[in-house]
């Protein structure tokens, strides 16, 4: 479907481009555009971060982005354009890690589609994040298991923690 754009962008070649996302979702039918942009920030869990390396399993990631798009479309139940792009490679502080844009006739659906998409990208797509710290150390983030035996228990725990003290990852 041409209403859903998905990309894995090797940032050795080009950065993510929020303007291109806006361009893609633009349509005279649509009055509301909600976007989410994830950037590399300087601190995580109290440690000073100097950069992040993103590793992706590209073909599966693209399929899953597309699947997420179809799910967002079903959830919105009306016209939607959705842009999902994730960076791959070595990012510095301030670099864009992920860009999502959702456009719909009205704003409520745009927000819902955008939120659904970023949550699904974070929890379901084959993407891994290695943080590099100022002291030279580095660590792969603890994330969400895609393995069915672990997945349900972890998602339930995340829901719980979201309700009590916000959403950590």
């Amino acid at each position: 479907m041409t209403d859903i754009y998905t990309a894995v962008v090797d940032i050795a070649h080009a950065p993510l481009n929020p303007a291109a996302a806006l361009e893609f979702v633009s349509d005279p039918r649509f009055g509301g555009i909600a976007t989410f942009i994830g950037r590399v920030r300087q601190h995580n869990h109290g440690r000073v971060v100097t950069g992040i390396t993103y590793d992706l399993f590209d073909p599966l990631a693209l399929r899953i982005f597309q699947e997420i798009g179809e799910r967002a479309r079903a959830e919105v139940g009306g016209p939607l354009k959705l842009y999902i792009a994730h960076a791959k490679g070595s990012l510095r502080i301030g670099d864009f890690a992920v860009v999502i844009a959702a456009a719909t006739p009205h704003r409520d659906e745009a927000f819902r589609a955008c939120r659904l998409a970023i949550e699904a990208v974070k929890h379901e797509a084959p993407i891994w994040k290695q943080e590099h710290y100022v002291d030279g150390d580095s660590a792969w983030s603890e994330g969400c298991s895609l393995c069915e035996e672990h997945r349900e228990a972890e998602l339930a725990a995340a829901q719980q923690s979201k309700q009590t003290h916000g959403h950590g990852h």
């Binding site: 994830g38 993103y54 590793d55 992706l56 399993f57 073909p59 599966l60 399929r63 994730h86 890690a97 992920v98 970023i118 990208v121 974070k122 929890h123 379901e124 797509a125 084959p126 993407i127 891994w128 994040k129 290695q130 792969w140 983030s141 603890e142 994330g143 969400c144 298991s145 895609l146 393995c147 069915e148 035996e149 672990h150 990852h169």
Partner: protein
């Protein structure tokens, strides 16, 4: 059959090539492959926790392959540790 398991994220540290090759029974399930990978990693990359393999999924380029599925005939599979995109 020979299976080439592509490594991602923290599991890349199991082998500098980015994959490991293992012999597994023909037509075996993902569960069997998982056990074989556990053994391989225990022997060749002991710094990787067994729990990480337990929490990892296996996948083709098209989909996640849960434990009851068969290892693809072409012998290519990816092992996906817990994800943390965005």
């Amino acid at each position: 059959m020979k299976v080439r398991v592509t490594l991602f994220g923290a599991l890349r540290e199991a082998d500098p090539h980015g994959f490991v090759e293992m012999d597994v029974p023909d037509h075996c399930t993902v569960a069997t492959l998982r056990e074989a990978l556990q053994t391989h990693v225990r022997n060749h990359a002991p710094s990787i926790s067994e729990n990480l393999i337990k929490r990892s999924a296996f996948a083709s380029e098209d989909e996640i392959l849960h434990n009851h599925r068969h290892v693809p005939e072409h012998g290519q599979i990816a092992v996906l540790p817990p994800v943390s995109g965005g």
